[in-house]
């Protein structure tokens, strides 16, 4: 088991539990989609898994070891995290941004190998021509790819992505998820918080549905059933099929 978290409880303020008894796992090369309405705890859960928050109860294990036992650099070599919004105070170039992903391996001066890893990644993600541009001059989709490239430069075993496709146009949504899917063959597991149920169905191996800080359902595509969605989202939906893919079509709010 690559990542295993059990019995997680977390709250920002006393008596207001944001996460309750969460169990979540990710196998090697598995993509797990975290779905659920706004405020259901997706981001908080990802933050707990990334060890930004310490859960009040339960533990997060990576490769069988408690995440707290890793040093900061060891952890950064295991886990890549892509936040939903990157709050840049001083922008840097695309190359420098991706090079930062090598930080867990570098003390002060990046080596030729680090630079090679970065230029390889930029090429693979079709970002080479932006290499010397500043990140905030790019479009949202390109920027998201840069941040994923940075996480990949960490050579992680697990990627945690917080709504990587929100605010992206259709093409970039698919591109970004394709990149994540391509990492499967390297054995990289991904946990993705995602709003679009159809994309979740299409790109993930397993779906974990959250409701009010609890795992409401978890498993394969059968999790995305009309009853579950009605119960969790308060929305009436129609589930159909198109070219072998399940399709969720929202009808009306309940």
């Amino acid at each position: 088991m690559r990542l295993k978290a059990h019995d997680l409880d977390f709250s920002y303020e006393e008596d207001k539990k944001v996460l309750k008894d969460i169990h979540i796992t990710a196998e090697e090369g598995e993509i797990v989609a975290l779905v659920g309405p706004n405020g259901s705890g997706k981001t908080t859960l990802l933050r707990c898994l990334a060890d930004f928050h310490t859960p009040e109860k339960g533990e997060v294990k990576i490769d069988g070891m408690d995440i707290k036992e890793y040093t900061l650099n060891e952890k950064a070599r295991k886990l890549g995290y892509v936040p939903q919004i990157e709050n840049i105070s001083f922008p840097s170039t695309v190359f420098d941004t991706v090079l930062m992903g090598r930080k867990p391996y570098v003390s002060w001066k990046p080596s030729d190998q680090d630079r090679r890893i970065v230029s390889d990644l930029l090429e693979k993600l079709e970002l080479s021509r932006f290499a010397m541009r500043e990140v905030n001059e790019l479009s949202g989709g390109q920027r998201q790819k840069v941040f994923i490239a940075r996480a990949l430069a960490q050579k992680p075993m697990i990627l945690l992505l917080d709504e990587p496709t929100s605010n992206l146009d259709l093409k970039h949504q698919l591109e970004v998820l394709d990149i994540i899917q391509q990492q499967k063959k390297k054995g990289i597991s991904s946990i993705i918080a995602i709003h679009d149920l159809n994309l979740a169905i299409r790109y993930s191996d397993r779906i974990v549905m959250l409701k009010e800080g609890e795992v409401y359902a978890s498993g394969g595509m059968e999790v995305v059933s009309a009853e579950n969605i009605e119960d969790v989202y308060d929305v009436e939906v129609h589930i159909g099929e198109h070219q072998g893919w399940m399709i969720v079509t929202p009808d009306k709010p309940l």
């Binding site: 933050r47 990334a50 060890d51 930004f52 900061l72 650099n73 952890k75 950064a76 070599r77 886990l79 890549g80 995290y81 936040p83 990157e86 709050n87 840049i88 105070s89 001083f90 922008p91 840097s92 170039t93 190359f95 420098d96 941004t97 930062m100 992903g101 930080k103 867990p104 570098v106 002060w108 630079r115 090679r116 230029s119 390889d120 930029l122 090429e123 080479s128 290499a131 010397m132 500043e134 905030n136 001059e137 941040f147 940075r150 996480a151 960490q154």
Partner: protein, 355 residues
């Protein structure tokens, strides 16, 4: 493959430009150093200067160079360097383009602390000549008091930055409030000061390198050198912080620790400089922005670049300040404000992607 090589090559070229800027600024700094040593009430030619540095030639010139100009010029370099790296670091760790020892109220707090030491703790004695009305007989107490009060201001800023809804604007406003508070504190201390103490205390309100001495220089050197090393060593952490706390954490940065240590060290550097020379405004704010504009935001180069450029900036300012209407020597703080404020306005209007 060719494209990939191309990118690597482009990046190398981009980096070598930054190194070139730092090297170029260093050469300028050296030239400024020589020029400013030759300038003063008695002009010393370059040849005479070189002899005097080696202890040869006219006795008078040796005296002027070794006892007056060298300590002052070297102090200007160190003070400019220290304020600039303090500014760069504060901007990065507080994620705020308006961060600097001056705008965050740390300088004012240090000046208040120095005045507090003189007036309340009695660190100044008055038995001296009329030319230098107060001898500060215990510079250590003054520096320690300056650091203590700078620390209070720093802790204030740090605690405000931890509030969940603190924005960059909140911090700057807090800095203004703290700055005014300590300026008011200083003014009220002045009410209780004797005439001679007052003369000494006024000195801290506008930076002046007139009190430079070899002892001050060595203290600054001992304090600022390790701080500079710490900042340079952590420049990757600052780079990561520029992309946000979460990103920095995910890259293995101990965000809390880095922020607190860096802020404390920046305040210590500021306090030492202010306790010797008073408030020298705008250096710590403007220098990082100028350098960032030229070589970009990569802190690995921005910190050393600001150090060298800041040193040259303050040295040039001080040289102008003491020669422009010679024999009157202007306080360098007036000049840095006259230069710094319009420069800063220019940067504001010209606009930058991070405003």
């Amino acid at each position: 493959m060719s494209e990939e090589k191309d990118v690597s090559a482009k990046y190398k070229k981009y980096v070598s430009k930054k190194i070139l800027f730092i090297a170029g600024s260093s050469i300028f700094l050296l030239i400024f150093l020589l020029i400013s040593l030759t300038l003063g009430p008695s002009d010393i030619p370059l040849e005479g200067l070189l002899k005097a540095v080696l202890g040869k030639g006219k006795e008078k010139w040796i005296q002027i160079i070794w006892y007056i100009r060298l300590p002052r010029v070297l102090s200007a370099i160190l003070a400019g360097l220290g304020l600039s790296i303090a500014g760069v670091t504060m901007q990065s760790i507080l994620r705020n383009p308006l961060g600097s020892p001056y705008t965050l109220g740390v300088s004012q707090a240090a000046a208040f602390g120095a005045a507090f030491a003189v007036i309340v703790l009695g660190a100044g004695s008055t038995q001296s000549s009329p030319a230098d009305s107060v001898i500060l007989n215990n510079p250590y107490i003054i520096t320690i008091s300056a650091f203590f009060w700078a620390l209070i201001s720093t802790i204030g800023i740090l605690s405000i930055s931890k509030l969940r809804n603190a924005t960059p604007e909140t911090l700057v406003l807090a800095g203004i409030a703290l700055g005014s508070l300590f300026t008011a504190g200083m003014t009220s201390l002045e009410y209780f000061a004797s005439d001679v103490e007052l003369a000494a205390v006024i000195f801290w309100t506008f930076g002046d390198l007139g009190k430079s001495s070899w002892r001050n220089f060595w203290i600054m050197l001992i304090v600022i050198t390790p701080i500079m090393f710490y900042f340079v060593k952590h420049s990757w952490d600052y780079n990561a912080l520029d992309s946000g706390d979460e990103t920095a954490k995910s890259l293995g940065v101990d965000v809390e620790k880095t922020r607190i240590y860096s802020m404390l060290l920046a305040s210590l550097a500021t306090a030492v400089i202010v306790s010797f020379f008073g408030i020298i405004g705008f250096v710590g704010l403007v220098v990082p922005h100028i350098v960032r504009k030229v070589i970009g935001g990569d802190e690995r180069f921005l910190i050393p670049g600001s150090a060298v450029f800041g040193a040259a900036f303050l040295l040039a300012s001080d040289t102008v300040a003491r020669t422009v209407i010679s024999p009157v020597v202007l306080p360098v703080g007036i000049l840095t404000s006259f230069l710094g404020a319009p420069l800063f306005l220019y940067l504001l209007v010209k606009g930058r992607s991070y405003w």
